[in-house]
Amino acid sequence: MDENTARSNRRLATRLLGVVAGMFAFGFLLVPLYDVFCDITGLNGKTGGRYENTVDASATDLSREVRVQFIASVNAGMPWEFRPAVTEVKVHPGQAMDTYYRVQNLSGRDMVLQAVPSVTPGAAAQYLHKVECFCFQQQRIAAGESKEMPLRFFVDPKAPEGIHTLTLSYTLFNVTESALLDGAQGQPE
């Protein structure tokens, strides 16, 4: 093999290694891309974070009602009671609504929970805005303590007519271990 070929082999190999590194990085880039994609398409019923825009009360659409259903689940290994105050409400799009979920820590330990929201149908997730939600931060609940966790939301008046029912589900995950590592978060109120 002559010197020229050897050099061009090395150059090609280096370039291909660059592609490999790029694709490895791309694998990680898929994570934020996926979130953006979910926000746009409502894939997986992911809901946004705190709704920051001001709520325009005059925009309330009194001509129709949307049924909002509340669901509560507790992930494995959590001996908790967790249920919504009401199983469903009917709201006019644009009308802000307050409700709460009740949680009780039945274990003998102080625990930190993270509530994970999910909305179905997924395509409707982008029209459900949470103004105030217990899912925005981790919640520390002492052993045996029972607590009402507030939620304030409204349905976007721009929601298409085809949306009759929105189901808002919260699943509680036990994050006590990682919260202990992080330390500062989730101080009891």
């Binding site: 669901i71 689940s73 494995a76 290994g77 199983t87 009759h164 029912t165 699943t171």
Partner: protein
Amino acid sequence: MRFLTRRWCNLTALAALLTATPAFAEWGLNMPRGVTAVSREIYDLHMTIFWICVVIGVVVFGVMFWSILHHRKSQGAKASQFHESTTVEIIWTVVPFVILVGMAVPATSSLIKIYDSGEADLDIKVTGYQWKWHYDYLGKDVSFFSNLSTPRDEIYNRVPKNENYLLEVDEPVVVPINKKIRFLLTANDVIHAWWVPELATKRDAIPGFINEMWTRIEEPGIYRGQCAELCGKDHGFMPIVVDARPQAEYEAWLLAKQEAARAEAELKDKVWTREELYARGEQVYAKACAACHQINGEGVAPTFPGLKASPYVKGPIEAHVDIVVNGKPGTMMAAFGPQLSEVDIAAVVTYERNAWGNNMGDFIQPLKIVEMKAAK
């Protein structure tokens, strides 16, 4: 040569069998037609595409077998040397494309129907657990677990298997016919999938996320399905049974169920004897615990430790209750507090402490469990 004829036989036999589908339905050769408008539509779509594929296969293999029969060197065939034709290439790019468009049209319209999100008459939340299903009739105060009810003796070939082997549960999910039922799916631990072939409903149940699908069953009957996503050890042992009944019968069942829940709640105020608890505990154990710890209490080392002579079971009763109620973090032991009633917890703890030669002799009242939960 031989394999040509074999393949032909295969195809024609298959085609013959599939045309005669209704008669052969019990043989389990083809997809069931099912009992909903959607399932029938999917079945028709499946058959249409199957036949298109058969025709494509017959044409392509036909040309090939023709060549194999007539263009053999041993029969003195001389090879032509043509090797390119843009026209032909374009034709066999365009024709399949047109066929595909023809397939995509009905498929799209079916998909749109499946995704219809119109109002439902009944909402049932379905939660996948390792390895059972939980049903919650939203707003109706009825919820229960549905466990495999096939006896272990049948699974381990010690007794003959019954006809619904592995497709039977202790509590079927009862639904009314001719009503739109919306299933809301989620999972407690890993991903499961809820599938009943006769309803053509398959959707993943994902922990932390909610999925939905709907069905409208047209004929009363019992429809059986299984978990369709690998979810661990007993993935093959968490069947689904849907019992579709006329509206009135469904309502009667719902009332009875609500009544039973009230009666069950009162049971915890009763004072129980050790024998009563032991007898009930044996059943609870078989349903909730035996999958991992095994019916003989010996477990499957190391993931699922045995309970026979276990230090936890032979230790103080409060600590034993605590593990059952709260689980053991970092292990496979889940918290059964939310899954079992106080009576069942008292019963199963009593059973474990006195079965398999553990002979602790002690037992615990359901009311005590209530107190222990409240005290914390």
